[in-house]
């Protein structure tokens, strides 16, 4: 019986360590990426934020009604030219896949800037900076400054536009949506994969 106890003890140690090693502690839910191949290389992907339902926060000194209710936006000269927003991000199928921040900064010294950070837990994050002026009266276009994980080796541009809702029949329809379209291309490598092996 003592031998059985020792056998069980060792089996318990090995089993626990094997379970900790092989069973995933974290398994982020993934939605399929809806990516299209761009005409001149790279890929494009669209992200949406329905307004107002996907807006989590609006913070600005000039904001009369804080969102969310009860939020206290910091007072002080430092924060005067800032407008920070937080959104849930949807893919082309209108499924929520991440969160994003949009910060508009007004500065006499540095000029006005709009920045986005889009965070997709299963894929990574990317950081975009764009001027507030639109290129064609509709789209603002910015440059990818940095990315993590899937977006780490990427370069490219991101456009932002407001799409107003035109469906007057549906009372529950959103006012419109913010559309972000990425156009990314991976880093060029001199060495082909076959040559590295």
């Amino acid at each position: 019986m003592f031998k059985t106890l020792i056998f069980g003890f060792l089996l318990g140690i090995v089993g626990t360590i094997a379970a900790v090693y092989y069973l995933p502690v974290v398994d982020q839910h993934r939605e399929s990426s809806i990516i299209a191949v761009a005409t001149n290389g790279g890929n494009t992907e669209s992200f949406y934020m329905k307004i107002p339902m996907d807006r989590i926060m609006v913070g600005a000194s000039s904001q009369a009604e804080p969102l969310p209710q009860g939020m206290e936006w910091p007072a002080g000269e430092v924060f005067t030219g800032l407008r920070a927003e937080l959104f849930k991000v949807r893919n082309s199928d209108e499924t929520v896949i991440g969160v994003a921040s949009r910060v508009a900064s007004e500065s006499k010294d540095f000029g006005d800037t709009i920045e986005w950070v889009v965070h997709l837990p299963a894929r990574g994050s990317f950081y975009v900076s764009m001027p507030p002026e639109s290129v064609d009266g509709v789209h603002r276009v910015g440059t990818l400054q940095a990315g993590t994980r899937e977006f780490g080796p990427m370069h490219g541009r991101v456009s932002e536009r407001w799409v107003a809702n035109t469906d007057d029949d549906d009372e529950d329809a959103p006012d419109g949506r913010i559309e972000l379209v990425t156009s990314f291309v991976g880093e060029f490598a001199d060495v082909l994969p076959e040559e590295t092996s």
Binding site: T4, L5, G12, V117
Partner: protein
């Protein structure tokens, strides 16, 4: 036969407990090494914030976690792809404790987590805007294993369901090879900046019911040399 079965089950339970204790007290697991930036000869920017949800401008998560979203009516991240994500919007203070700007921190449980290696990893990204100086994007992998082991678990063991003491540790574990975060400059004086950072936590009280009660975070960002005059410009004014 039954006696052998009971002995086997007892052995299995004891073995599982011994393995769990070995993993928990594993001396080879990640310790709290000295910050690589503490020996840096480059200029440093230090930004502090309160890591208590109720001190934040906004804190949100799935709504079912120990730390409750703040303020009460804020939208919760209940959808499956973002359920394991926390978002913190907070005021960042400079080294003199004056408000310097805002920081938005995204924290998602990492699939790279390996308990056997003493790694409870979180993929984090900071969107930082300091109106007087510019903006930064900080991406990092954070390891909360020491925080869990030395604060959260002792809080559960404590009869008062809380922990009090003094704990300081670096949470940044990568992606830099020395355990540093990656920093990218946005606009203003930080435009074009590529650098590294380390995030640390100083905790004084933790409650099982509410999470951190007294806890500060600090981001230490190295300003890589791009000419002495430019580095000096980037320092806290």
């Amino acid at each position: 036969m039954i006696r052998h079965l009971i002995a086997l089950i007892m052995g299995l339970v004891l073995g599982a407990m011994a393995a769990s204790a070995l993993l928990f007290y594993n001396p080879l697991a990640a310790q709290n090494p000295l910050s690589p930036l503490s020996v840096s000869d480059q200029e440093i920017i230090s930004l502090g914030y309160s890591a208590v949800a109720e001190d934040a401008i906004v804190f949100t998560n799935d709504g079912e976690s120990r730390v409750r979203p703040y303020p009460v009516g804020v939208q919760q991240l209940w959808e499956a792809p973002i359920r394991r994500t926390n978002v913190l919007v907070t005021v960042l203070s400079d080294s003199r404790n004056n408000p310097a700007g805002i920081g938005i921190k995204y924290m998602s449980d990492s699939e790279q987590t390996r308990i056997i290696n003493g790694e409870a990893l979180v993929d984090s990204a900071w969107h930082i805007v300091l109106p007087a100086r510019g903006s930064l994007f900080v991406s990092e992998s954070e390891n909360y294993w020491n925080f869990l082991r030395q604060i959260v678990v002792p809080a559960y063991w404590n009869s008062g369901d809380s922990w009090k003491g003094t704990w300081h540790g670096n949470t940044t574990a990568g992606p830099g090879s020395l355990g540093t975060a990656r920093v990218t400059g946005g606009y203003g004086k930080f435009a074009g900046l590529e650098s590294v950072a380390v995030e640390s936590i100083s905790a004084r009280a933790y409650s099982v019911a509410a999470g951190p009660v007294a806890m500060e975070g600090r981001l230490t960002i190295e300003i890589a040399a791009r000419g002495e005059s430019q580095a000096a410009e980037l320092m806290v004014e």
